[in-house]
């Protein structure tokens, strides 16, 4: 807006909307870490810094 590049702000707004739609349409955005894996990691850390 400072440089009065309104074509850029219009293009950016469209880009933002497109990114939000793509990101919000994705179902693959989280996963479960099994308790066994957490225990393994924690014990590894405990051994390393004990």
């Amino acid at each position: 807006m400072i440089w009065h590049m309104y074509w850029l702000s219009a293009a950016s707004l469209l880009g933002i909307i497109a990114c939000i739609i793509v990101r919000a349409s994705s179902d693959d955005n989280e996963y479960v870490i099994p308790a066994a894996k957490v225990r393994e990691n924690e014990e590894l850390l405990a051994r390393r810094y004990a």
Binding site: I17, I21, A24, S25, D27, E30, V32, P34
Partner: protein
Amino acid sequence: MSQTQAARAEADAKTIFGFWVYLMTDCVLFASLFATFAVLRSSTFGGPSGSTLFSLPFVLAETLILLTSSFTCGLGILSARLGQKDRVLIFFGLTFILGLAFLGLELHEFSHLYNEGNSWRRSGFLSAFFTLVGTHGMHITAGLMWMAVMMRKVSLKGLSESSIKRLTMLSLFWHFLDIVWIFIFTVVYLLGAAS
């Protein structure tokens, strides 16, 4: 239920709760805009006030269209829970058309005001009016885009669980906008025409 499914259900419940929190922050936004409007409503700076500008039959038509769209949205979400894909598309399609009609009427009103020289630059009252009603209109626009994306998703991929979750949030959003509009109708138009 397996561990993954249980985690899934818990995550979904959190998502819906998060959406409620968002709606409440939106409520705060509208509350401040309403407060601004209430303070500025008589600051017409020698210009026209609400009673000369607003046509109540026109606004009543807008209100009825939006209320009907909320009704069809409710029918749509009911069909989604029953897994009736075709009905979901029909009812959300109707909601979309009604929302678009509402937006068209609102833009018509705005351009009419603007062309008559009663833009947001005219007075504090009109600045507050355009900010409040325009913010509502922006929300409606966003809701329509969301609805279009969801209808495309449902028609291509069917009614998945994640789609039903998203449709639930969309309907929450749409009903919320309807409630906000009821307040705009009362505070801006009815009280404006009465004073």
